[in-house]
């Protein structure tokens, strides 16, 4: 039996939200820790202070963990040579916004509270108690997630230190309202360029208008409708949208370049290669097609034993992840992964992120129990 593919035993079938919540004082600890993380600004490209805090705390309080710092990524791992290794993964950075943390009535408000410093707090607290679990655990904290897959610290780790991010199952602690959000969509942004030849607009026959050349393709690209696709019984809504247009030299000159930017979000039944071919077909006649950036899709893999056990034993409701997360990055190297974390995804990237102590507690309890499950 391959490592990590075993059945897991059931220690306790009660739901996460049930009687096994934390004691009130522990909930308060978790909320305070999350508030402390929110109080350290960590907008993308400025994660150093938070990475330093996380590293110091893991070194001080993580038990049985070896800690590596690579740039502003921090990886803490147990290394007991066990058959199964579970990865918990969270990004340190936030989108830009108004800084500050506020705790009131068991609720934490502030930039990044939901996306995803609540999840980071859960990870840091779990790191204090995984020493003697029946599985090895890896905690991955990384920078640059909000900048896109190419600039994400996790992508860098997979490229430079794949040993640190290897494992059998990964939980990405994006806010999911403590649902299991399965898989993730893929995203690709394409740049389609049509060239022409400049000419004075009084003598258009001396030139070639790049816009006129681009219009048939633009027509096809702009008329793609949303496609809903079923993957493992889950419905993912793909989309193809023209998100940018640029042409023009001067108002008396035929443009010699027309740039169309296309955003393609796709269900995990597709690959980047497939959607690139699709856009290439739609953009027929273009002089250049470039993938500006992309993030891979992640398959749900609900039938994988560890995914199934995670869902079943935590009693989680399941829905498809509509956005793109690093579940796709783990999928790319064959590691089954799920999104599971405290807070509502709808609040992410808004000016009002609010996280409750009970949501934090449910995430913590669920993960704590899962990491404690014995393999059969």
């Amino acid at each position: 039996m391959p490592a990590g593919a075993g059945r897991v035993s059931v220690q306790n079938r009660s739901t996460v939200a049930g009687e096994h919540s934390l004691a009130p004082e522990d909930e308060a600890d978790l909320l305070r820790l999350a508030a402390g993380l929110v109080a350290i600004p960590s907008v993308s490209r400025s994660e150093e202070a938070l990475a330093g805090f996380v590293e110091a705390r893991l070194r001080a309080r993580g038990r049985g963990l070896s800690v590596d710092r690579i740039g502003n990524c921090v990886v803490a791992r147990t290394g007991r040579g066990l058959a199964r290794r579970v990865i918990l993964s969270g990004h340190l950075d936030t989108v830009p916004g108004v800084q500050g943390a506020r705790v009131e009535d068991d609720e934490l408000t502030g930039l990044g509270a939901v996306d995803m410093k609540g999840g980071l707090a859960v990870m840091l607290l779990l790191a204090e108690q995984v020493e003697s679990n029946p599985c090895d655990t890896t905690f991955v904290f990384y920078d640059g997630e909000e900048l896109g897959s190419e600039r994400s610290g996790l992508t860098r780790l997979f490229a430079q230190r794949p040993d640190l991010v290897a494992g059998d199952f990964a939980v990405v602690l994006e806010p999911t309202g403590n649902w299991l959000e399965a898989g993730c969509q893929g995203t690709a942004v394409f740049e389609v360029v049509f060239n022409g030849k400049r000419a004075h607009s009084a003598r258009p026959w001396l030139g070639v208008n790049a816009v006129a050349r681009a219009v048939p393709a633009l027509n096809r690209l702009a008329s793609c409708s949303t496609v809903t696709e079923e993957v493992e019984g889950l419905l993912y809504r793909g989309s193809l949208q023209v998100v940018g247009l640029q042409a023009g030299v001067a108002t008396n000159v035929l443009p010699d370049e027309c740039i169309i930017q296309v955003s393609r979000r796709y269900a995990p039944s597709h690959t980047l290669e497939e959607v690139t071919d699709e856009v290439r077909r739609l953009a027929d006649g273009a002089d250049r097609l470039t993938v500006l950036r992309s993030s891979p899709a992640g398959r749900p893999r609900l039938d994988h034993p560890l995914v199934a056990a995670f869902q079943r034993d935590l009693g989680l409701r399941v829905r498809p992840k509509l956005g793109t997360t690093d579940v796709g990055r783990f999928s790319l190297v064959g590691i089954p992964a799920v999104n599971f974390g405290p807070g509502s995804a709808e609040m992410a990237h808004t000016s009002h992120e609010v996280l409750s102590a009970s949501a934090l507690s449910r995430s913590f309890q669920g993960l704590s129990r899962f990491l404690g499950l014995k393999e059969e």
Copy 2:
């Protein structure tokens, strides 16, 4: 008989290019004067030095002229109360470029030599000898022509001092290679705006993509072909070109605005109102249509007695003016006007403007004779 509509007598039917050229020393004077004008930089918005030079020279050497300076416009007029008033019109400004004047082998090279300081030199020399002509003469030197009709000094004069630019016939000394270039095309630049509603590209159903809304109109606008139209036996090539496109907020956001810029050049058989209606029809569905700028078309009016006399008595070959000039501005107030000046229009706005002494001389001689024609 209305003023200026009379038949003009023929003093001499030989062609301008014929035996009536200037003496070599006078040709050299004209070329030196043109070189002096080229040596004074006068890129649009920086015409003050050249306006000052022109004003001073007119005051010093113009005979029987009253001189008005309005901003960087200079108008010099005879005021003998004669039945006919001829306007000679030239702009002081040049497009940006490398400054400097060079005279070699009876040729002047330099920015603005052709467009249109050669014409200005002809005007300045004529201003010294119109005192006792059988018609009144107005010399109009103005700024800002290269910035478009709205910012042209001539437009300002027509608005603020119409008395200074009134007359029966106008010659615009744009470079025409000493052809009579009849009328001029009209130009209008339109901005067509389609609005939408922003939404994250993962949830396009929550928004409206402005590009998708704009595409049918863009389709129609970009597929307009060049139309050749005959006006008074002359062929004008109209055009409708998409010269600018702009949309895009971020690559993960549905654009809420799509801006299309359209350049419409039209034959003098059309008006701004007509082409605006045409663009409005093509842009059906747009949320906003704005005329960003426009320059009126000018009809050839080859059958007008003064235009006919000018052509016939100078023995000029006639062709339609493909560009937009201030002939349109004069036409707008009912003053028949023609383009006639030294130098090749193809050199205008290039980095290599060359003007020959003989071209200058032909323009000078032709205009000098025309201004000396007696009304029958």
